[in-house]
């Protein structure tokens, strides 16, 4: 159920786009209205989620630290794993966001030779995660060529690096193979490792199946069953210049691809995919470990009325003098 429900959801989505375009001729709906709606939901939902996180108070510094904290000058501090300054935090966040530092620490635990518990290095998840995320980013940057009349230099460079093997025509992209391989690994990992399978939910499988289908339809369109690519760019340019027009004869495969991408964008703010924004707001990563050096005041502390000794003495000075008690102020 946890696998089949998201699996059939993706199939229904594909069929929906196929039927909508091929049979019902709803080109304008699938080519214009749904993309606009999806990008609106994506931006608004993303902001809503991030603001929601921003409203949660962080009363205390809770970084998870993995190295020597700042201490005496003769004890060497690990400035990236246990940062005490903003600069250190920025370095730590860069390592985390760009290279998944914490995933690099991933280990596996196994029973070996009876009741012997052993730990081992397990870099496969880190490698597949890195390959997947970087491929996805490069593919996203490559796709920007559909949205500019004069394509920026950075996009050209990305594309020529990605296709520099010069295999076939149209040129084969390295990231196309990488993303398909990496996502397949990430799916198989949830199928084959019992512990991971046990904790995997429909919300884990759905984005994987969706992204796998998006990548597969993209690969199909580029190498095998080609669509009218100039028409695709005309549609994209119409969308970004707010003068949408649907060119004839693009091909149904493109509309399936586009619809699944729209579903991904619209689904994004409501799902685990929000880790894209969330990684920047993780209090276990983005806070400097300076609990002992800096005073942090709990943001929800309400003002407490205190009656100091000076005030007490002011109230009872005369009585205290009569009783012979010592007073600080005469």
């Amino acid at each position: 159920m946890r696998v089949l429900f998201p699996f059939f959801t993706v199939i229904v989505l594909v069929l929906l786009a196929f039927a909508g375009v091929k049979m019902a001729n709803l080109h304008f709906l699938f080519g214009v209205i749904i993309p606009y709606a999806a990008i609106t939901v994506f931006i608004a939902g993303f902001i809503y989620r991030v603001v929601g996180w921003g409203r949660s108070p962080v009363p205390f510094r809770i970084p998870t630290t993995c190295g020597q904290m700042e201490s005496f000058p003769w004890i060497k501090q690990n400035k990236l794993e246990n940062p005490s300054t903003t600069l250190g935090v920025i370095g730590r966040m860069l390592l985390e966001v760009l290279f998944f530092r914490s995933l690099f620490r991933n280990i596996k635990t196994e029973f070996r030779e009876g009741p012997k518990f052993s730990y081992g290095s397990d870099k496969w998840l880190w490698m597949a995660g890195l390959a997947f995320h970087w491929s996805f980013l490069i593919i996203l940057i490559r796709h920007l060529r559909f949205f500019f009349l004069k394509v920026p230099y950075l996009i050209h460079v990305t594309e020529s690096l990605d296709s520099f093997l010069q295999i076939g025509a149209p040129l084969f992209y390295i990231t196309d193979a990488l993303i398909l391989g990496a996502v397949t690994f990430l799916v198989l990992r949830r199928f084959l490792i019992p512990q991971v399978k046990y904790i995997s939910l429909a919300a884990d499988y759905f984005p994987l199946f969706l992204i796998l289908t998006i990548a597969a339809t993209g690969v199909l369109m580029r190498y095998f069953s080609k669509v009218h690519i100039v028409g695709v760019k005309e549609l994209a340019m119409g969308l970004v210049s707010f003068s949408p027009a649907v060119p004839e004869g693009i091909g149904v495969l493109f509309y399936i691809h586009l619809f699944l991408v729209c579903v991904l964008f619209a689904y994004f703010p409501f799902s685990k995919l929000m880790h894209m924004g969330g990684v920047f707001l993780s209090p276990t990563r983005n806070l400097a470990n300076n609990n002992r050096a800096v005073r942090h005041i709990n943001p929800w502390n309400y003002p407490v009325h205190v009656h100091t000794y000076e005030e007490y003495e002011d109230d009872f000075r005369e009585k205290m003098k009569k009783a012979g008690l010592p007073v600080e102020k005469e």
Partner: protein, 140 residues
């Protein structure tokens, strides 16, 4: 909101990145590419036909040319028999560019629009047209 300065700055960066294509195309009319087949050789043809049907050529010409290259360079086979059974000489410069002698108005029209840089001309000699107007961008 706590740390609102940093969070709002981050959100502004996010929104600018996502809407960058919209912003940079604001108020620009997009010109569609119109590849021209107005060349002396094509105009003289009684039946204006390429080696394969137009739809096939539009989608698969890069694959066809790649196969031609492999066939000629690696196997020395220069004869292409199309789906209608006619034979053609596999040659970019002598067959393709003989009719489509207007590279700028035909090839480049869509290639520039789609931002693709085919590496045909790093080996082949570019057809000479309008010698006073050299292509500004060096094709990859």
């Amino acid at each position: 909101m706590y740390d609102s300065g940093k969070i709002i700055a981050g959100l502004i960066v996010f929104v600018l990145l996502v809407t960058f294509p919209f912003i940079s195309n604001m108020g620009k009319a997009s010109a569609k590419p119109k590849p021209s087949i107005d060349t002396p050789v094509i105009n003289e043809m009684a039946v204006k036909k390429c080696v394969e049907p137009k739809e096939f050529m539009r989608a698969e010409h890069m694959q066809l040319l790649n196969n031609w290259r492999d066939s000629v360079v690696r196997n020395g086979d220069r004869i292409y028999v199309n789906t209608a059974g006619q034979s053609y000489n596999m040659s970019l410069q002598n067959t393709c560019m003989n009719c489509h002698s207007n590279k700028k108005k035909f090839c480049d029209e869509c290639h520039n629009y789609m931002a693709v840089n085919p590496y045909c001309w790093s080996c082949h000699i570019q057809p000479k047209e309008q010698p006073n107007e050299q292509p500004k961008e060096n094709m990859l």
